[in-house]
C-alpha cells in the first residue's frame, strides 16, 4: 500500500522529549536492586529468625563485660548480658552496666560518621567534604610523609585513648612505629600521678588489693574512691566491693567532697574534705598516731626508709638520713622550719573538724586489718603525687599492709585484670616521651622541653615541636584536656599543628578539628578474644559493618602499604589472625585458659573465681623485706624518696613548686589556700558520669536520660547566689563560661561545686559553652608538680544565676 495510515494502534516512535527521557534512564544506571520476580527463588544470605551472639564491651571504664546480643536477621535488637550458670559466687556472672547494654545504639546512631572526610575552610569550623577511601589513604600517606620529611618522626604525637584490654587499638601506634616512630606519652589522663606516687613509695604495687579482701577487714577507709560509679559494671570492682564488704560488714568511712553513690547510706561515716587537701588531713592523722604512740615503730624501722633517722647502707648505695629530714620530725614539727601538723592546723585547711580527725586516727590505729584505699580524684590535682603518697602513709605508719584484709593505700580495683596479650607496638625509633598532659606545650615549644624542666622521659629533651597529631578514637585533642577555649586557639593555628588525622565514630569536639576525619567501626562490628572477670570470650563481629567502613586495622594496613612497610606492620596477618596469635601467646602465660579451638566453638566460657584466694600485694616483702626487696632504690618502702631527693637537686621547677622527698601537703595555684585572695571562691571538680564513659555514649539519649548532667551545689552556696533548684546557671572563671542546669543538694560540701565530665564542648559566638564541658573551666597548662600530669580537679570558679 502506498499511503499507510498511522492509526492509534500503530506504535509511534517516541517523541524527541520522550527519547531523551529514556536516555536519562540509561545514564542513571541499574539502581540498587535486581528484580528476581519470576525467577527461581534462592536462599537469601540474610539469616532469618532471632538468635543470640556472645560479644564483649570495649567501653573505656577499665573493665570489660560479657554481652549477649540478641540479633534478628542481621540487626541487633537488644543487648543482654552474661547469664551463664547460676551466678553463685565463685562462678558468678560478669554482668554489664547500662552502657554496655546500649552498645548497639552507638552502632545504629544516625549521626555516626559514615564516610571519609576532608576539612574545608579553617580548622575548627567543622566544615568537611566527603572523599573516597582511596583518596583518604593517599592523602594521609602524603601528608604524613611530608611531616616526616620536613620535621622528622619526632614531630608526630599519638596516644591511643586506652592502652589496655578494653581498647586494643595498638595497631595505631604500631603503624607509626613501622614508619619511623613517634613521640609517645608517658602517663595518662587518668592515673599518672598516683602511678608515680606509688612507684616512688613502693616501687609499684599500684593496684594490689582486691576489694574482696574487705571480707577480712574490720575497717574500710576510702579516699576519693567511688567504685559504685567508676567500677559500676560487673566486670569492674563494685560487685566485689559489695560482696567483700558484705562479708565483714566492716565499718566504712568515705572521705570525699561529695556524698557519692558508694556512700549514700551504705557507709558508716562520710567525711567531707576540700579537694586537694587530703595530704593535710593525713598529716594530722599522722600527728595523732605518732604522738599517741600508735605507729608500728618496728615495721617503720625494718621495712621503711625515712620515717626517722636512718643509718643507711653504704654498700648498697643507701645514704644515711639525719632525723630532721625524716617524716617523724616533719610531722611533729621538730624539723627546722616546720610546724607541728596538728589536727588544729589541718582542720581549717581540709574542712574536717578536729575531733573527727582525732577519731579517724584512732579508728585506724585500733583496727586489726584496716583497708585503706584511694581512687583517682585526689591525684588529679596540682599536688596530686603528694596527696597519693600521703594516703599511702596511713597503712605504712600502722604497719598494716601486705596482709589479709588490708590495702597499701593505693588502688583497690576490680576483678582480676585481664592478662590478654596485646598487639606489640614494635620498636619505636623515637625514644623521647612527653608527659601525657603536656602535648599542647610540645606543639608550641617542644624543642625546648627537657627532662629536668618538663619531665621528658626516655631522652634528655624533645628534638622537635609537635607538628602532627594522630588520634584514634579518644576525645583528648580538645574535649577531655584542660582549657578548651585556650586549646582550641592552639589547634586552629595551622602553622603549629600542620596535620591532624582523626578516626572516630562520632562528631566529637575533637573530631571537628581534624584535617582528615575517617570513620571507624563500632565494637559490635569488630572481633576479638577477651579474658576478664569470670569469663573468656571469642567475640566475632555481631553484624556486618555499616556503610562499608573498613576495619581500622585494614586502614592502617593500607597506609603501611603505601609506606612500603606492609610486611613489617602486618607480619603477614589479618586482624583475625592477629587475634588468634595473641590468644595463643596469652595461653603461654596462662595455661589454665581454655584452648583456642574450644573457646572458638563455645564462644563464651565461665572462668572460676576463688572467693578465698589471697588478693593483696606485698606479702613476701612484708614477711621478709631483705629477701624480697621492693623496686625502690633502697629496696624498702620509701617514705623519704631517694629518687625525689635526686630530682630536687637537678630539676627546674616553677616558682612556688618544689620536689620533696617526703610526702607533704602543698599549697598550689587555685588550691584552697588561694580562695581568700581569688576572684573565684568555689572549688570546682568533675566526676565520672554513670551515663557515659567520659564522652563516649554521650550521643545516646536513652542513656543520657538516666543521669542528670547538672552542676551540684550546696544549699548554702546556692542561697548566697539566689539560685533556685533546677535553674540554669553560669559557671565561670577567667578561662571560660558554661551554662548548665543546677541541682542544689547537701550531697556536696559547701565551697565546692561539681559536674560530670564528658559533655561536648559547644561554644557559641559569644563564648559561652552550651555543652557545659568541664574543661572549659579548667587550666590548659594545669599540670601536677612531679610528672606534669592532668590536674583538672584544681580549679576555682564562681557561679551565678541566669
Amino acid at each position: 500500500m502506498k499511503n499507510k495510515k498511522i492509526t492509534k494502534s500503530t506504535p509511534c516512535p517516541p517523541s524527541i522529549g520522550r527519547r531523551e527521557f529514556m536516555k536519562l534512564g540509561l545514564m542513571l544506571g541499574a539502581g540498587a536492586f535486581i528484580d528476581l520476580h519470576g525467577l527461581p527463588s534462592f536462599a537469601s544470605n540474610i539469616p532469618v529468625g532471632e538468635k543470640t551472639v556472645w560479644s564483649n564491651c570495649w567501653a573505656h571504664c577499665h573493665c570489660s563485660c560479657l554481652l549477649k546480643m540478641v540479633v534478628e536477621g542481621d540487626h541487633i535488637k537488644r543487648v543482654e548480658t552474661d547469664d551463664m550458670g547460676d551466678d553463685s559466687f565463685g562462678m558468678h556472672q560478669t554482668r554489664a552496666c547500662l552502657r554496655g547494654r546500649s552498645l548497639h545504639k552507638r552502632t545504629y546512631a544516625p549521626d555516626r560518621i559514615k564516610y571519609p572526610m576532608r576539612r574545608i575552610g579553617p580548622r575548627g569550623e567543622g566544615k568537611f567534604e566527603r572523599i573516597t577511601w582511596e583518596e583518604a589513604y593517599d592523602e594521609v600517606y602524603t601528608r604524613l610523609k611530608g611531616i616526616i620529611d620536613n620535621y622528622g618522626n619526632d614531630s608526630i604525637f599519638c596516644r591511643i585513648g586506652y592502652n589496655s584490654v578494653a581498647g586494643p587499638y595498638h595497631f595505631v601506634e604500631r603503624f607509626l612505629n613501622s614508619i619511623g616512630g613517634h613521640v609517645q606519652a608517658h602517663g595518662n589522663y587518668s592515673n599518672a600521678q598516683i602511678n608515680e606516687a606509688v612507684k616512688l613509695t613502693y616501687g609499684g604495687h599500684f593496684n594490689d588489693s582486691s576489694p574482696m579482701e574487705m571480707a577480712f577487714s574490720d575497717l574500710i577507709v576510702l579516699f576519693g574512691d567511688n567504685p559504685a560509679v567508676t567500677r559500676m559494671s560487673g566486670g569492674g570492682g563494685t560487685y566485689l566491693y559489695q560482696v567483700g564488704k558484705g562479708k565483714s560488714k566492716a565499718r566504712t568511712i568515705v572521705i570525699d567532697p561529695r556524698y557519692t553513690e558508694t556512700a549514700c547510706g551504705r557507709e558508716d561515716q562520710w567525711i567531707p574534705i576540700r579537694p586537694g587537701t587530703d595530704a593535710a588531713l593525713v598529716e594530722a592523722i599522722a600527728y595523732v598516731l605518732i604522738s599517741e604512740n600508735r605507729v608500728d615503730e618496728e615495721f617503720l624501722r625494718t621495712h621503711c626508709y625515712g620515717y626517722d633517722a636512718e643509718e643507711g647502707h653504704p654498700e648498697k648505695g643507701i645514704p644515711p638520713l639525719p632525723a630532721d629530714l625524716g617524716y617523724k620530725a616533719y610531722i611533729l614539727g621538730t624539723a627546722p622550719g616546720e610546724n607541728p601538723k596538728t589536727p588544729e592546723w589541718a582542720a581549717p585547711i581540709c574542712g574536717v573538724p578536729v575531733q573527727t580527725i582525732i577519731q579517724l586516727a584512732r579508728d585506724i590505729a585500733n583496727a586489726q586489718s584496716p583497708f585503706i584505699a584511694q581512687g583517682w580524684g585526689l591525684q588529679r590535682q596540682a599536688a596530686g603525687e603528694q596527696n597519693s603518697r600521703a594516703v599511702c602513709m596511713l597503712p605504712i605508719l600502722v604497719g598494716k599492709l601486705g596482709m589479709r584484709g588490708t590495702c597499701n593505700g593505693a588502688n583497690a580495683f576490680s576483678a582480676p585484670e585481664s592478662k590478654m596479650e596485646m598487639m606489640p607496638f614494635g620498636d619505636n625509633q623515637v625514644k623521647a616521651k612527653v608527659p601525657c598532659f603536656l602535648w599542647p606545650q610540645a606543639v608550641l615549644d617542644g624543642q625546648n622541653m627537657t627532662a629536668e624542666k618538663d619531665c621528658i622521659r626516655g631522652a634528655e629533651k624533645l628534638k622537635s615541636d609537635i607538628k602532627c597529631i594522630v588520634q584514634y578514637q579518644g576525645n583528648w585533642l580538645l574535649n577531655q584536656h584542660g582549657g578548651t577555649n585556650q586549646l582550641a586557639e592552639i589547634l586552629c593555628d595551622e602553622s603549629k599543628l600542620e596535620f591532624i588525622f582523626i578516626m572516630e565514630n562520632h562528631m566529637t569536639a575533637s573530631a571537628k578539628y581534624a584535617d582528615i576525619l575517617l570513620p571507624s567501626i563500632t565494637w559490635p562490628e569488630d572481633s576479638r578474644y577477651n579474658v576478664y572477670g569470670t569469663y573468656a570470650v571469642y567475640a566475632e563481629p555481631v553484624v556486618e559493618r555499616l556503610f562499608g567502613c573498613p576495619h581500622p586495622y585494614e586502614v592502617m594496613t593500607e597506609l603501611a602499604r603505601r609506606f612500603g612497610v606492609h610486611e613489617q606492620f602486618t607480619e603477614g596477618r589479618t586482624w583475625d589472625q592477629w587475634q588468634d596469635h595473641l590468644y595463643l601467646k596469652t595461653r603461654e602465660k596462662c595455661p589454665n585458659l581454655p584452648p583456642m579451638e574450644e573457646l572458638k566453638a563455645q564462644k563464651a566460657m565461665r572462668l572460676p573465681y576463688d572467693p578465698d584466694e589471697e588478693r593483696f600485694g606485698m606479702k613476701e616483702f612484708r614477711q621478709d623485706p631483705e629477701a624480697h626487696p621492693l623496686k625502690t632504690p633502697s629496696g624498702k618502702i620509701e617514705i623519704y624518696s631517694l629518687e625525689q631527693a635526686k630530682r630536687a637537686q637537678t630539676w627546674i621547677m616553677p616558682a612556688g613548686e618544689e620536689i620533696t622527698p617526703l610526702p607533704k601537703y602543698c599549697e598550689t595555684w587555685e588550691g584552697y589556700s588561694e580562695i581568700s585572695t581569688s576572684k573565684y571562691p568555689l572549688q570546682f571538680i568533675s566526676y565520672k558520669p554513670r551515663s557515659r564513659a567520659h564522652s563516649t555514649f554521650g550521643n545516646i539519649p536513652w542513656l543520657q536520660a538516666a543521669l542528670e548532667d547538672c552542676l551540684h551545689i550546696n544549699p548554702i552556696d546556692a542561697q548566697a547566689r539566689n539560685i533556685r533548684q533546677h535553674q540554669w546557671v553560669e559557671v565561670f572563671n577567667d578561662r571560660g563560661k558554661i551554662h548548665v542546669p543546677v541541682r542544689i543538694t547537701p550531697r556536696i560540701m559547701p565551697g565546692v561545686v561539681a559536674k560530670p565530665e564528658g559533655t561536648q564542648y559547644s561554644p557559641t559566638a559569644q563564648g559561652v559553652d552550651l555543652g557545659h564541658c568541664a574543661n572549659t573551666l579548667t587550666k590548659l597548662g594545669g599540670r601536677s608538680h612531679v610528672v606534669k600530669a592532668n590536674a583538672v580537679n584544681t580549679c576555682l570558679v564562681d557561679v551565678k544565676a541566669l
Binding site: 522529549g17 520522550r18 531523551e20 527521557f21 529514556m22 536516555k23 536519562l24 534512564g25 545514564m27 542513571l28 544506571g29 541499574a30 539502581g31 540498587a32 536492586f33 535486581i34 528484580d35 528476581l36 520476580h37 519470576g38 525467577l39 527463588s41 537469601s44 540474610i46 534478628e72 536477621g73 542481621d74 540487626h75 541487633i76 548497639h104 545504639k105 545504629y108 546512631a109 544516625p110 549521626d111 560518621i113 559514615k114 564516610y115 572526610m117 567543622g126 566544615k127 568537611f128 567534604e129 566527603r130 562520632h506 562528631m507 553484624v543 556486618e544 559493618r545 555499616l546 556503610f547 562499608g548 545516646i700 539519649p701 536513652w702
Partner: protein, 219 residues
C-alpha cells in the same frame, strides 16, 4: 487507571530522584538536566504544580553559567542534608522517624527489608546500609513499577505490592522527612527534588489507593 507509559514515566522519575538522594549529581547528569526539560514527561496529567516546578528547575539550571561550581555546591549541600557531618539535617531513613530512639535499623527498617525480600527484590549494594533510605526506597519503587511493564498487564500482585509498599513502609514517615527537606534545603535544586518526590508519592498513593495511616513519629 495507570497506563504502561505512565508507570514507565513514574519509574524513571523515581530513579532520577533516587539517584539524587543517594549521591549528589555528577557533572554529566547536571549537564543532561540542563539540556533537557522533562516537564512534559511528568506522568500525572492533573499535576500542573509539578510541571511548573520542573520547568523552573530546568530554567534555573539553564541559567547557570558555571555548572562545575554548582556541582561542587550541590555536593556540599547533599553531604550536610542527607549524610551529615554528624547528624544529617534531613535523615532519609524511615527508622529515624519511626523508632522511639531515632536509631537506624529499627523494627520498621527490619520490616521493610523483609518486605522487599519477600517481594523478590535483591539488593546489589556491596556494603551494608539500612534499606529504608528514601533513595533506595525510590529505586525499589521503580523496580516494582517496571514490573507492570514487564507483565504487560495489570497484575494484581504487583499492584498490591506497590500499594502495600506505599501504605505500610513509606507514607507513615516520608512526608515528615520531605517537610524537613523543604525547611533545610538551601538550593532550589534540592528544594525541587523534595517537592517533586512529594508529588510523585502523593499521586502514586492516589492511583494505588494507598492510605496515609496516622503513625506516631519521633523525629
Amino acid at each position: 487507571m495507570f497506563t504502561l507509559d505512565q508507570s514507565q514515566g513514574v519509574a524513571l522519575f523515581a530513579r532520577l530522584f533516587s539517584s539524587l538522594y543517594i549521591n549528589p549529581p555528577t557533572l554529566e547528569l547536571l549537564q543532561e538536566l540542563t539540556q533537557q526539560n522533562f516537564a512534559d514527561q511528568w506522568p500525572f496529567d492533573q499535576d500542573q504544580q509539578s510541571r511548573a516546578t520542573l520547568n523552573h528547575w530546568h530554567a534555573t539550571l539553564a541559567q547557570e553559567d558555571n555548572l562545575s561550581a554548582l556541582q561542587k555546591k550541590l555536593t556540599q549541600e547533599h553531604l550536610h542534608l542527607f549524610i551529615g557531618v554528624g547528624m544529617p539535617q534531613v535523615p532519609l531513613w524511615g527508622s529515624v522517624y519511626l523508632d522511639a530512639e531515632n536509631l537506624l535499623m529499627g523494627p520498621s527498617c527490619q520490616a521493610l527489608e523483609k518486605f522487599l525480600a519477600q517481594a523478590d527484590l535483591m539488593c546489589t549494594l556491596k556494603v551494608r546500609e539500612p534499606l529504608d533510605h528514601l533513595g533506595l526506597i525510590l529505586a525499589a519503587l521503580a523496580v516494582f513499577l517496571e514490573r507492570i511493564r514487564k507483565d504487560g498487564h495489570q497484575n494484581q500482585d504487583v499492584l498490591l505490592t506497590i500499594k502495600n509498599f506505599l501504605e505500610l513502609h513509606i507514607n507513615p514517615w516520608v512526608y515528615r522527612c520531605l517537610a524537613l527537606q523543604e525547611q533545610q534545603a538551601s538550593s532550589f535544586f534540592y528544594q525541587a527534588v523534595g517537592q517533586l518526590t512529594h508529588s510523585l508519592l502523593l499521586n502514586l498513593s492516589q492511583v494505588f489507593n494507598a492510605q496515609k495511616i496516622k503513625t506516631q513519629l519521633y523525629y
